[in-house]
Each structure stands twice: as structure tokens, then as C-alpha cells.
């Protein structure tokens, strides 16, 4: 088998204000024709740096050493025009964010045509490439190519935009396709389609694919061989079946164990009814007088119960969280906290109801005020509700920092001195400081690496055991919800399509949409994943 890409002893160092940082160190691997090689690792592992260095897309602050051979030619030795000829022609790249990778002011057809003209020895007018563009759009399975060619990026959905980028990438029939987190910004059902497309391109054209991802489920679905990176170094390299079945390195094992499994928790959970914590009754929310973001949704979170709210982007799940928190006012319907509607209650009474809820948001970067110490952040709800003396508050903060396993010592630190996972723990401590009866958690672990996610979820489960609060757990990740929650509600386009006991809804979905969602959620097991793919495509 001919190697399309051969990387030997690749090292990348960045010159930063804080001194030199090594991003990659002594990385060697090769990638053959018709092969899909997945590079996995958590943030900071250097996987994207590696992808960028293959096409020499790193900025001036980077020093690259070693060699990168593309079809026998050393890419690192190329200069100027030679390099331009390689980029896009012999190796093409697909990026994570399809919206920013396309020019919003240019029609789709023209952008694809331009990618073709770039490598045409005798460049013609853009309109001359129309037939070839149509052919490419058909290949990436975009409906009605003639109409799409005349449209602008914002008129396409995220999945369609990613297909356009793939069309641009395969336009010059490169031997190597580099895909850097190509499905991370997409919903699971769309992700499944894109992965199928990449697989088909490989089968039809023999293109080698270098796939960068953090998602072990995606890897299990599509990769032939896997590289595991950690802190810029190669941990393990093996073919897919072997790596998932019998990882050799401790780190790989930990990484795989941290991935939440859909259907991994067998026993159904039983929760006694202790009265309602949160009730939504036929709640409708409309933004800007237009489309209904939430359409007659009724939900109930009992005291001590964990309700998972799952849905794809735009399904209205965060809006429902906003309603519960009083940040969004419903157009009609009622939101009741512990049996009382805070929107209709007196000011003092409403404040008393708000005192009993805590909230954790998604983004560890903006969930804490950068100018406050950790202690001040956690103390704020106490100050808002004028609770405790100064020493009493300090004691409470220390207690909570211990409870979230950070230790009282971090109280004097600032948020930027903590990692993302630590910051989410602080958010959790702040949410619990008033001893709430209801916790609203809006994608609390979505921005975290899997290993960190696992520890934060374990912490949440432990605290729930101890403190027994009701919890509305909002997430796009079915596996996470399956691991955390008692009951599940599935949301699609602002409507609840199905809700019920966790093992019922996710194990034996009765609705078509839920079934599709479950089948599209990738599991980190190549054998199971192949079966699911058959079930999914057979159904379609």
C-alpha cells in the first residue's frame, strides 16, 4: 500500500510571551491510501496543531521541525507558489465551523468554482465551472443543486454548509483530506450524515482521510486506525477494533472509560413523588413575534428528581431553562416553582421562590466574574438574599468548596487561575450555596473534555444523593442524560415529542424522532456502531 502521508519526528514549538511552548513533540505516523486515520485527544493535546502543520497553516510564531511527506514530497521544504499548488490540490482541509469557513457575501456556486479555478492550469471565468460544481454538489448529496448554487451561505443549514465545504475540498480530487473536528458544531443526526458522506468519498475515490476529533463515538464509527495524543506526544497507535477492545496504555483506557455510554446504566431509577419542584404547563414562547421557540410545552420536575431535557440545537431546550429561571417570559402558559407562579406572585414572594433555585450554565469562561475571587463568586447569592454574617458566609464557602472537591484554599484565587472543570465546580458550589430545592443545569459539561466531564458528572450525582434537590438537566448529549437522569423529555422544534422513564424513552423509544436521535448518537464501540449504522441506513 502506498503511503499518502508520512510524518516523521514532527515537532512544533510556539514562541509566546510566557516563553517557548512545545505543542507537538516527536510525532511519527503514516497514512495509506483509502485509509481513515483518526487523531484523538483532549484539548491541548496538539491534534489541531498537527493538522495545521501538514498544510503549513501555522502562523509565524510556530517553529516546525521534522518532516511531513505528502506523496513523497516534503511539505516543510516547499515555498510560496509550490506550497500553494499543494494546498487544496493534493491535500484539502475541512474545518470545524462551516459558517466562518465560507464567505457570507458570495454565492455557494462561485465559492466552489473558485476552489476549482485555483488549481486549473488554464483558469477560466467562474461561470465556466458550473457543470462541475453541479456534479460536486450532487456528490455531496445536496438537494436541488441548481438552486443551491445561487444561494448564499446563510440560506443553508449547518449540515448543508459543511457539505458545501466538503464539495470544495474534493473538487480537485486530493489524495488526502484533512478534517478538523468536521462534525463538532453539528447536531448528532446531521453528524451521522456527514460521516456517511466522508466514508463514501473514501470508498469511491480512495481518498485518505486524516480525521481530528475529540469524540470517541465518531472515531468508532468511521476510523480504520487511531492515534491517541496527549500533551503533544503520541500515547498509542492501533487499529480501531484493537484500540477499543484492548487499549494498551493506561491513558487510553481512562479516556475510553470516561466516555458516557448510552444504555450503559441498566437499572431503572425509582423516585418517590415528593411533590413538584418545577412545573411547566402549556408554555409557549415566541421570539420577536416570529416562530414559536417553545410550543405548548408541559413538564414536571419532582423534588429530588433528575429530569433530562434533550434536543438538538434550536429545539428550545435552553429557552425552557430560561423560563424556569425567570429570564424568559412565556407568551402563554404557566411556570410554577414549588406550586406558585413567580411571574404572578408578589415581589417579595417571587424573590423567596428564586432563593430556592440554583443554576449552572455551559461556558466555564463566562460563568464567573473574572474580577471577583472564587469566594466572592460563591458568596454572591448569600449577599443578594442578605443571609449570614461575614464569618458564617466564609464558613459556608469553605464547606461548599470542600463539597465540590476543590478545597477551601481556592477561595482567594481568581477564575482565570482555574481550569474549565474547576470553574464548573465553582459554578456548582455557587448554585448550591443557598441550599436550593431545584437546580437548573444548562449543558453544564458540554464545554469540558470527557475525562473532566466524567468527574463533574460524578460530583453532581454525589451531591444529588446528599442534598436531594430536584434538577432540570438540559443537554444535547443522550449518553450524558442517560447516565445522570431519572426521567427524560425529548424536545424537537419546541415541542415535547416524548417523555418518561429513562430506560423506556432511550431504551425503547416509541416516537420516530427519538429513535432516530438514539441511533444517530455515536457510541464508542466499532462493532455496535456498525450495527447501529445498518439499522439507521436500513430504516432510511
Amino acid at each position: 500500500m502506498n503511503d499518502v502521508l508520512r510524518v516523521r519526528d514532527l515537532g512544533v514549538r510556539f514562541d509566546t510571551e510566557a516563553g517557548e511552548v512545545t505543542a507537538l513533540d516527536g510525532l511519527s505516523f503514516s497514512l495509506g491510501e483509502r485509509e481513515i486515520l483518526a487523531v484523538v485527544g483532549e484539548s491541548g493535546s496538539g491534534k489541531s496543531t498537527m493538522a495545521m502543520s501538514v498544510l503549513r497553516l501555522l502562523g509565524g510564531a510556530a517553529t516546525v521541525s521534522g518532516s511531513v511527506e505528502l506523496e513523497g514530497e516534503d511539505v516543510l521544504a516547499l515555498r510560496g507558489e509550490e506550497l500553494r499548488r499543494v494546498r487544496g490540490k493534493r491535500a484539502a482541509m475541512i474545518f470545524q465551523e462551516p459558517m466562518t469557513a465560507l464567505n457570507p457575501l458570495q454565492r455557494i456556486g462561485a465559492q466552489i468554482a473558485e476552489a476549482l479555478r485555483n488549481h486549473d492550469p488554464e483558469p477560466e471565468r467562474l461561470t465556466q465551472y458550473r457543470d462541475r460544481v453541479r456534479e460536486l454538489l450532487e456528490r455531496v448529496e445536496i438537494d436541488d443543486p441548481d438552486r443551491r448554487m445561487r444561494q448564499y451561505p446563510h440560506q443553508l443549514s449547518g449540515g448543508q454548509r459543511q457539505r458545501v465545504l466538503i464539495a470544495m475540498a474534493i473538487g480537485c480530487e486530493p489524495r488526502l483530506l484533512i478534517a478538523d473536528e468536521p462534525t463538532t458544531a453539528l447536531d448528532v443526526t446531521v453528524q451521522a450524515g456527514i460521516l456517511d458522506l466522508l466514508r463514501r468519498i473514501r470508498d469511491e475515490s480512495g481518498t485518505a482521510i486524516l480525521l481530528i476529533t475529540h469524540n470517541m463515538g465518531v472515531v468508532a464509527d468511521i476510523a480504520d486506525r487511531i492515534l491517541v495524543l496527549r500533551a503533544g506526544k503520541l500515547v498509542e497507535q492501533a487499529n480501531s477494533a484493537q484500540l477499543f477492545a484492548a487499549p494498551e496504555q493506561e491513558y487510553t483506557r481512562e479516556l475510553l472509560e470516561a466516555v458516557p455510554l448510552l444504555g450503559g446504566r441498566a437499572e431503572p431509577s425509582t423516585v418517590d413523588d415528593n411533590g413538584p419542584a418545577l412545573e411547566l404547563e402549556r408554555v409557549t414562547v415566541r421570539y420577536g413575534g416570529g416562530v414559536k421557540a417553545v410550543d405548548e410545552v408541559s413538564l414536571r420536575v419532582g423534588r429530588g428528581e433528575l429530569l433530562g431535557l434533550v434536543g438538538e440545537s434550536g429545539s428550545g431546550k435552553s429557552t425552557i431553562g430560561g423560563c424556569a429561571l425567570g429570564l424568559v417570559r412565556p407568551e402563554s402558559g404557566a411556570v410554577r416553582l414549588f406550586g406558585t407562579d413567580p411571574n404572578r406572585a408578589k415581589r417579595r414572594e417571587a424573590l423567596e421562590l428564586r432563593r430556592r433555585i440554583g443554576v449552572v450554565f455551559q461556558d466555564p469562561g463566562s460563568s464567573l466574574d473574572p474580577r471577583m475571587t472564587i469566594g466572592q463568586c460563591i458568596a454572591e447569592p448569600l449577599l443578594v438574599h442578605r443571609e449570614g454574617t461575614k464569618s458564617g458566609r466564609a464558613k459556608r464557602i469553605a464547606e461548599l468548596l470542600d463539597a465540590v472537591e476543590l478545597g477551601a484554599g481556592v477561595a482567594d484565587r481568581f477564575p482565570h487561575e482555574l481550569s474549565g472543570g474547576q470553574r464548573q465546580r465553582v459554578s456548582l458550589a455557587r448554585a448550591l450555596v443557598l441550599g436550593p430545592d431545584l437546580l437548573i443545569a444548562d449543558e453544564p459539561t458540554s464545554a469540558l473534555d470527557v475525562s473532566v466531564q466524567a468527574t463533574v458528572l460524578a460530583l453532581l450525582a454525589r451531591l444529588h444523593q446528599e442534598l436531594f434537590f430536584g434538577c432540570l438537566f438540559i443537554s444535547h448529549d443522550l449518553a450524558v442524560v442517560d447516565n445522570v437522569c431519572d426521567r427524560v423529555a425529548v424536545l424537537n422544534r419546541g415541542r415535547v415529542v416524548e417523555q418518561g422513564e429513562r430506560t423506556e424513552v432511550l431504551g425503547h423509544p416509541s416516537e420516530d424522532y427519538t429513535r432516530r436521535l438514539v441511533l444517530a448518537s455515536p457510541v464508542p464501540d466499532p462493532v455496535a456502531q456498525a450495527e447501529r449504522r445498518r439499522a439507521r441506513t436500513g430504516e432510511a
Binding site: A350, R354, I357, V359, E380, P381, V384, H385, D412, H416
Partner: protein
């Protein structure tokens, strides 16, 4: 990054970075020298800046008068010092007034949103459409400006840009999750604005103050240059320029060059400090992410 950084040390971090910023340090040094020159200078180099001395008119630089004398016989070096006081005092007061009004205006507009935001910002847009210099000239013809009046006048016409800046900052900060978390547990607007939004916007505001001061000093110079500045025998650098320009063709360069250089130095110094402050705060922001 050390693990036990206290608030004081975090703040001194900004100061340390500011001093390490070479351009900002230059600015600081120039500014301190100009302040010493204007405020302590007259104590060492005493001259009569009130009475005219028609026996010593427009003397070129020489012994007794290192920078010569002006058309009324005042010593130019001494005059440069007292004029500097006026320019610097007006500049700093006006810069602070402009930024303060603008910051409050912008924060209110940005955090309230809705119709109030719309009205407040359209007022700003209208104000921007009218040249500040024009407003100032009209006002200066109506009242004889003293140092205090001129400072307030300039401050009042220069709040528009900081208002826009502050509004933009506020809108971004108000979207952050810690503000949402505060609102969700029933925290008040006052708390959101004073405990979170203003402290987080302070970096931008402080940078803006330095640019505002530089602008104000230039505005004083313009107004005085057009003959509508502070009343004699008081003077400022702009007024000195304006008077000196009459004698250009007589070769009296010492009446124009010294105040010109003084204005350039001080304005540049404030701009350098502003640049340095911005970088110093940005490094902190970068570390926070």
C-alpha cells in the same frame, strides 16, 4: 501564573505591565516632567507673568531670557510654565467629566435596552453629527471663559464617544453567564451594574480617559488659537501659539516652537499611556480566558 495571587498583586500586575511597556513608560516620564515643569517650575524660575514690560518686547533667546520674551515683554520660558498649568488642568478635568458622563450614559443605555437605549443612543448620534468645536465656539462667545468654565464646557461636549464605547462594553458584559446567574436568583439591577458591569468595563474606561485628556488639551489649544480661550493675563499653550503666529514673518520662532512642542509632547504622552494601559488590561483579559 502564580497560584496565590491576591487582588493587590493582580492590580500591581497591570501597573507592572504598564511600566514594562516601553512606549507607556516614555509617556509616563514625559508627563511627570511636564507636570514638574508646569507646577514646580515657577517656584525655581520665578518670572513676572502679569505686568507688561514694554522695554523688553520680543527679545530673542539670550542671557536672562533663555527662550526670549513675547510681544508684551513676558519671559517665554516662565509663560510656558503657567500656560502649562492651565492646559493640563483643563485637559484632565474635561477628560474626566466627559468620560464620567459618557460611562454612566452608556451603561444605562446598554443595560436597560429597549426604548430607553434607543432614545439615549439616538441623542448620542445627533450629538456626534454636530462638531464639538462649533458648540464650544458658540458657548465661548456667550460667556468669557475662566479655567473652570472652559474645563466643564469641553467636558460636556466630549462625552459622546465614551458613551458609545461604554454601551458596547455593557451589552457584551450583560450577556455573560454570571449576569444571567445573578438575575436568575433574583439579584437586582443595581447590583449587576455596580458589582459586575462597571468593574469589568473599568479597563476600557481608564484607557479612554487618557485619550479624552489628550483630546481635551488639543481642544483647549484650538479654542485659544481662535482667540476664544481664557482671558489675559492668564494663558495656555494654544493661546501662546495663537499670539506668536502673528510674528512669524518677523522671525520670532521662539514664540511658536516652544508651546507647539509642549502640546505635542503632552498629547503624545497621554496617548502612549493609553496604548500601554490597553495592552496591560488586554494581557489580563487573555489570561482570564
Amino acid at each position: 501564573m502564580t497560584t496565590t495571587e491576591t487582588p493587590e498583586r493582580a492590580r500591581s500586575g497591570v501597573l507592572r505591565r504598564l511600566i514594562r511597556h516601553r512606549l507607556a513608560l516614555t509617556g509616563l516620564v514625559i508627563l511627570v516632567l511636564m507636570l514638574l515643569f508646569s507646577f514646580l517650575g515657577p517656584l525655581i524660575y520665578g518670572t513676572d507673568q502679569v505686568h507688561t514690560d514694554l522695554g523688553a518686547v520680543r527679545l530673542p533667546p539670550g542671557p536672562g531670557h533663555p527662550l526670549g520674551t513675547d510681544e508684551l515683554g513676558h519671559d517665554v520660558l516662565g509663560r510656558l510654565m503657567v500656560a502649562g498649568r492651565v492646559s493640563l488642568i483643563i485637559g484632565v478635568i474635561a477628560g474626566l467629566i466627559g468620560t464620567a458622563i459618557g460611562a454612566v450614559w452608556g451603561a444605562v443605555a446598554g443595560y436597560s435596552g429597549g426604548w430607553l437605549d434607543l432614545v439615549l443612543m439616538r441623542i448620542v448620534d445627533t450629538g456626534v453629527a454636530i462638531p464639538a468645536l462649533f458648540l464650544l465656539l458658540v458657548a465661548a462667545t456667550l460667556v468669557t471663559p475662566s479655567v473652570g468654565i472652559l474645563a466643564v464646557l469641553i467636558g460636556v461636549v466630549s462625552w459622546l464617544v465614551p458613551a458609545r464605547l461604554m454601551r458596547a462594553e455593557t451589552v457584551t458584559i450583560a450577556e455573560r453567564e454570571y449576569i444571567k446567574a445573578l438575575r436568575a436568583i433574583g439579584g437586582s439591577r443595581t447590583r449587576a451594574v455596580f458589582r459586575h458591569i462597571i468593574p469589568n468595563a473599568i479597563g476600557t474606561v481608564m484607557v479612554n480617559v487618557t485619550f479624552q485628556i489628550a483630546d481635551a488639551i488639543l481642544l483647549v489649544a484650538y479654542v485659544s488659537f481662535l482667540g476664544l480661550g481664557v482671558a489675559p493675563p492668564q494663558t495656555d499653550w494654544g493661546a501662546m501659539l495663537s499670539k506668536g503666529i502673528t510674528y512669524t514673518y518677523d522671525g520670532a520662532w521662539w514664540l511658536i516652537v516652544p508651546p507647539g512642542i509642549a502640546i505635542i509632547l503632552v498629547v503624545a504622552a497621554f496617548n502612549f499611556i493609553g496604548d500601554g494601559l490597553r495592552d496591560a488590561f488586554e494581557v489580563r483579559k487573555r489570561a482570564a480566558q
